[in-house]
């Protein structure tokens, strides 16, 4: 039994780590969803296939390119704090990024994907996909492509919850309906 002790200790460590990581992610995300501030963001989804995580709608944000203030050493892959401002249409817009969080107001921590010569950067946001039931994802894609092609007057946006710079995607809406409800009528039962 004495000989087995390190083995059992290692197993206990492995078990602890195996629970701590997913549980930590789940608890942190749940807390943001419960108590974070809600924002609305316009999107443009497409539908790739991810072997690890089932099907999802990949999200792109029209306003995810921002002008950087001059005088700072901006570079790609840099982590920045991006303030969120709500416009008159109730949708959020990204403010001017800074290396440190703003003193007031909500912000997102994002990464600069690239910085062009004019000082305009595209942002890598912490949410870039919305997972759906594998049967629903292709239908969601078709619905949004139709909307984008002008065949319908549908609008697409997401709601996110933000707290202390962390953000969690809450829901995807098409034509002011949660995607699941929007698709409920179009999917065969």
């Amino acid at each position: 039994m004495t000989r087995l002790k390190p083995t059992w200790l290692l197993l206990a460590l492995a078990m602890l780590l195996q629970w701590a990581l997913p549980a930590g992610v789940a608890l942190h995300s749940e807390a943001i969803l419960r108590s974070g501030t809600r924002y609305y963001l316009h999107t443009a989804p497409v539908d790739p296939l991810d072997a690890f995580r089932g099907r999802y709608v990949a999200l792109r944000f029209a306003d995810a390119s921002v002008r950087l203030p001059a005088g700072l050493p901006w570079r790609a892959d840099m982590r920045v704090a991006v303030p969120l401002h709500v416009g008159p249409d109730h949708f959020a817009r990204f403010g001017t990024p800074s290396p440190t969080p703003p003193a007031q107001g909500d912000y997102l921590m994002a990464t600069l994907r690239n910085v062009d010569a004019d000082g305009v950067a595209s942002l890598d946001l912490p949410f870039d996909r919305y997972y759906l039931d594998e049967r629903a994802a292709p239908a969601a894609e078709r619905a949004y492509r139709a909307a984008n092609a002008g065949k319908t007057s549908a609008d697409a946006y997401v709601t996110i919850r933000v707290r202390n710079g962390d953000a969690v995607l809450e829901a995807l809406f098409i034509d002011n309906l949660p995607i699941q409800r929007y698709l409920a009528g179009s999917l065969p039962h």
Binding site: T7, A14, Q18, V25, S29, F52, R53, Y131, L169
Partner: protein
């Protein structure tokens, strides 16, 4: 030792202990040694591990369906079930089947896959983007204590593959050779332990046979600057593997010596390619990026120093053939260091003579030591060299055809004669 004899010896151990012929520690060592050797059959372990792998992957796919109609809490519970089952299997293995390799490999593999699935699916449930490189690194690092708790070589290879995936998924600018070396070094105690318990066993051969190319691929990915020094990089690796094998290899067949097999393959590729003048004129793999230059330089210098040390050691022990195998590394290092254009034709001529000399030396050593493998290796090397020269020359088809036939017949006759001589 056959399995029956090993089983008989194991059954005798309690009696030998009682009679005071063996103490408890020696009996335990014998048990561990022959349990390892006795488990050197592939089929049961392989089928069990494949079963665990398929089961784990099946569970991932089932949960990845993303049952939208279920609430988050229910989905999290479903995600947690395979992980709990995997962990229970690990605990059961240590408690009830600590000596069963099949149980250890299966439970560790399943628990590691269940964890990977849980982490990915929690991200799915909370709509988190996440980065593949960090995910794979997380899976690899969390798998480490499980690997050492269950002593699972399948998990070691899975972790090696996850580390390679981590490097591959990283942005090229973020790859750090020293960090990759450190990450793979975490698997080294397991490899050494398996090798010490049962050198040349199917398990150690399989483990090393997988890990060496994984490390090589991961390190090559981290050093884009090394692409233009590919010949040096490959020949230095080949030399190190051959030298390492000669230090620990023993007399097992080549199939049970993956270090030697990879080393000889790498050496032959560079040495034979170097017999063409164009090899010295062109940069085959293009220019690499300029990132992590100091780390790349450090790794290259470390490799060169190790290679030189091994060569000096071989010379000191008067193992001339072994020492001579370092020539491709030394010449490629000096010509690729950027001291002007190398004399291509002269170097190609030198390497033709060199490969021929190594072939003859192998045949001679094989005859002296009565080892048919060395003789065959020497003959094969010379045959490939001759073939390359025929393909690379401007001779007519008729002349090449006649030359092929003559050389082929000569080799068949030589092989027949040598077989008789060695066997007699």
């Amino acid at each position: 030792m056959s399995k029956q004899v090993a089983a008989w010896l194991l059954s005798e151990l309690p009696e030998l202990e009682r009679a005071g012929v063996l103490d408890a520690a020696s009996a335990a060592r014998l048990r561990a040694h022959y349990a390892e050797a006795g488990s050197d059959t592939v089929a049961p372990g392989l089928s069990a591990t494949l079963g665990a792998l398929l089961l784990g992957l099946g569970v991932i796919l089932l949960v990845a369906h993303n049952w939208d109609q279920w609430g988050r809490a229910l989905r999290l519970l479903v995600v947690a079930l395979p992980l709990a089952a995997g962990q229970a299997a690990c605990a059961w293995t240590l408690f009830r089947h600590p000596d069963s390799r099949g149980w250890r490999e299966c439970s560790a593999t399943f628990a590691a896959l269940a964890f990977a699935a849980a982490l990915a699916l929690v991200s799915q449930i909370f709509q988190l983007g996440g980065a593949l490189d960090r995910y794979l690194l997380g899976c690899a690092l969390v798998g480490l204590p499980l690997l050492y708790a269950l002593d699972s070589s399948v998990l070691a290879v899975l972790i090696g593959a996850a580390l390679l995936g981590w490097v591959g998924a990283q942005d090229e600018r973020m790859r750090q050779p020293l960090l990759v070396l450190l990450a793979f070094a975490t698997l080294l105690p397991h490899v050494v332990s398996v090798w010490r318990r049962a050198p040349h066993s199917m398990r150690s051969t399989w483990l090393i046979g997988w890990l060496v190319p994984l490390v090589f691929a991961a390190l090559s990915l981290t050093m884009p600057a090394m692409r233009q020094f590919a010949a040096f990089w490959l020949s230095a690796w080949a030399l190190l593997l051959i030298q390492l094998d000669s230090a620990i290899g023993g007399e097992a067949s080549l199939i049970r010596r993956p270090l030697r097999a990879y080393g000889e393959l790498g050496w032959a590729l560079v040495a034979l390619a170097a017999t063409f003048p164009d090899f010295w004129r062109e940069s085959w793999f293009g220019q690499g990026g300029a990132t992590t230059l100091w780390q790349t330089g450090l790794v290259a210098i470390l490799l060169l120093a190790l290679g030189l040390l091994c060569t000096v050691h071989a010379l000191w022990r008067r193992r001339w053939l072994l020492a001579a195998l370092s020539l491709p590394m030394l010449v490629t290092a000096s010509t690729q260091a950027g001291f002007g254009a190398p004399p291509a034709s002269l170097l190609a001529l030198l390497f033709n003579a060199y490969v021929l000399a190594i072939g003859i030396a192998l045949i001679s050593e094989g005859l002296r030591a009565q080892r048919l493998r060395a003789v065959s290796s020497g003959l094969t090397l010379i045959a490939v060299l001759v073939l390359l020269r025929f393909f690379g020359s401007e001779w007519s088809f008729v002349l090449r055809g006649v030359a092929f036939v003559v050389v082929g017949l000569a080799f068949l006759a030589a092989n027949l004669w040598l077989r008789r001589k060695v066997r007699s």
